[in-house]
Amino acid sequence: MATHRKDEPFGPFGPFVTFGSFVSFWAFVVLTFASALLVAQQPETPSILISRQLAELEQIAVGDEVRLATNEQGTDARAFRVAGIYEPTPDPMRLGAVPREVRLHLTDLLALERDASTPAGTEHVESINVALRNPGEAQAFAADVNARIPGVFARGTTGAAGSGSTFVVLERFHLAIAAVTIVASTVFLLALTIMLVDERRATVGVLRLIGLPARRILLQVLLEGLLIAGAGALFGLLLALASEGLINRFFQWRYDTALIFVKVTPEVAATCLAIAVPLGAAATVAASWALLQRSGLRLARR
């Protein structure tokens, strides 16, 4: 559920409105925390979680006590105990931004940022995530909430993504680029096979002269094309599998994230094979077709 749209990439006046959400409260708290002190553990000290990146940057360990404040001066700082260090959920939309985050219990956060004039329990929260027993009722539940609670806007998370979500659009973009690459590859492949077939023109001529029918030679060419295309596609897949780990490790190091950038799934591999092998074989046959229409004598002539 959300009551406003300040988390959208662009407000009506450009990206600046969203900087507040980029520089999240968690990051703000972290940037202004006063110090990390090793003190005796007190049972009443509230606990927090620290992101791995922040822990590494500030040399914070589990069990440390830190002080968090909502202003740079640290006037309202409160002590918290680091209960654990967590790996932030990878977010492709924030690639390149090192997640220096702290997670607090909501009550601790509200107590930290509440000013004296705000009675406890009347604070504002940005959103409430609801897990339904039956996820299929999400839309009906959202409609019910919207009707019953004025000032609150509820929506199902599945419906919020839809066919126009960022990642669906990116997937279409990748498919479009893949299509262009396949077209370029096919054109080059045809040029190469035409040259290779032309190189074997005399051999084909002799085969025709000794009595092999054009269909028999075409079958041979087709099998040869299938073998070459299959071997090429397998080599490509092995190359992709071998580079998968390297690419992931490089970009995970580069952006300090656990995000997986390349994943060769069985579906992806099957799609590649399903496109590459028939395409390669078809290119070979297409290139040989014109050659086989000529007479054996003409082909064998030097």
Binding site: T3, H4, R5, K6, E8, P9, F10, G11, P12, F13, G14, P15, F16, V17, F19, G20, F22, V23, F25, F28, L31, T32, P92, M93, R94, L95, G96, A97, L110, E113, E123, H124, V125, E126, P150, G151, F153, G164, S165, T166, V169, L170, R172, F173, A176, I177, V180, T181, V183, A184, S185, V187, F188, A191, L192, I194, M195, D198, E199, F251
Partner: protein, 402 residues
């Protein structure tokens, strides 16, 4: 007769051309392949900076060259508590010509008992500058007047002069804000509107009324027009209000480059590298196979008196012709492809309609030409070395005996 003509200066290009047209199918396919790869290369170069260039243009065209926001916004609290006062203070600076405070919320706009449309509802205060452009009707002049965008007008079927009801959903507003009547003054264009997004604008005071908190004067940001030097104005604003942070458009775009949109730069770099490598490999193979098929012919030319440098130059020119013609064809092809890919990417949610991912940049064109030229030269190196090291007598003997 022909070899003697070809031996003259300038002939290598003509000779390479004849080599190509002698094998039209392979030459055409080679050129088309380069055109397709070149088009993709051009698009990746345009993509690498397109979004940033487009955003810079969009920000510059809005008429405001500085954006002022709270240094450290906290959830549950407004970004700028005294938006209108802050805008007035900033507007009084000598280096500033105009400043307006802006607050944005969500609202349902409804005509009588018709179906409402959910819109981004902006309130502005201070000066006569507006972050929108009037298309039809008039601008807001008093309280409880609004302008809406075309999408909202079509969604609820309304024209300037009509009365609409606004029900706002505000950050920190009243639990159940009242539905308030507004007079529609005009239809406006909001530069950062997404294509299917309803938008509306009014005064910041009217927005506060709609939120049910008439005394609130909070703002999300202050938009500033400098009197000529945005950097000096930003420095003056920072000195005047240390609790606020002023960004020039260039700084805002710089932050975007660091924090967001890295994905497109990365994919552009990766695909540019792959595309160039792919083109290099395939042109090398094309030329190598082509040269291997013509070894006897090359040896005969050498025997007729063609120098080593001359036959090597022929191969280089053949490569240059394939890549050159393919590269030229790739420009219109790349432009058409860019329009298609831009259309796909612009379906991302909440992107301003005026924002583009592929933006023409003369520098990209130069890099495109440079990369293709380098590809033509590097791809020709291996076949050139075959021709240069060709043993004339042995090749001719093999040709005759074979």
């Amino acid at each position: 007769m022909m070899p003697l003509d070809l031996a003259r200066g300038g002939a290598p290009l003509a000779f390479a051309w004849r080599s190509l047209v002698r094998q039209p199918a392979r030459a055409t396919l080679g050129i088309l392949g380069v055109a397709a790869v070149g088009a993709l290369l051009l698009d990746m170069l345009l993509l690498s900076q397109g979004l940033v260039t487009s955003m810079q243009d969009l920000l510059d065209s809005s008429g405001f060259d500085i954006r002022v926001a709270a240094t450290d916004p906290i959830p549950g609290k407004p970004d700028i508590e005294d938006g209108a006062a802050a805008a007035a203070q900033i507007a009084a600076l000598p280096s500033v010509s105009a400043a307006i405070a802006v607050r944005t919320e969500d609202a349902d706009i409804q005509l009588a008992d018709g179906r409402p449309t959910r819109a981004t509802f902006a309130g502005v205060s201070g000066g006569r500058s507006r972050p929108w452009t009037i298309l039809r009707g008039a601008d807001i002049r008093g309280e409880h007047e609004i302008v809406i965008n075309d999408h909202a007008a079509q969604a609820i079927g309304v024209a300037p002069g009509a009365s609409v009801t606004i029900k706002a959903y505000c950050f920190g507003g009243a639990e159940a804000a009242p539905a308030i009547p507004f007079r529609l003054a005009g239809i406006a264009e909001f530069p950062f509107d997404a294509p299917n997004q309803s938008g509306a604008g009014t005064t910041i005071a009217s927005l506060a009324d709609a939120c049910g908190t008439p005394d609130a004067r909070t703002a999300d940001l202050v938009l500033v027009t400098s009197s000529g030097d945005p950097d000096a104005a930003a420095t003056a604003i920072a000195a005047l209000r240390p609790d606020l942070r002023a960004f020039t458009n260039t700084e805002a775009v710089g932050q975007m480059q660091q924090r967001g949109f890295t994905y497109f730069r990365q994919i552009s770099t990766v695909l540019t590298t792959i595309t160039v490598s792919f083109a290099l490999l395939l042109i090398t193979v094309l030329l190598t196979v082509s040269v291997n098929q013509r070894l006897g012919e090359v040896a005969a030319l050498r025997a007729l008196g063609f120098s080593q440098g001359r036959v090597v130059l022929d191969v280089l020119f053949e490569s240059a012709l394939i890549v050159g013609i393919g590269g030229l064809l790739s420009l219109p092809l790349g432009a058409a492809l860019a329009v298609w890919l831009d259309g796909i990417l612009k379906r991302m949610p909440n992107l301003p309609a005026a924002l583009h991912f592929f933006v023409f940049d003369p520098q990209a064109l130069w890099i495109h030409g440079g990369l293709l030229a380098a590809t033509a030269i590097i791809a020709a190196l291996y076949p050139m070395s075959i021709v240069a090291r060709l043993p004339i007598a042995a090749t001719l003997r093999d040709e005759v005996m074979g």
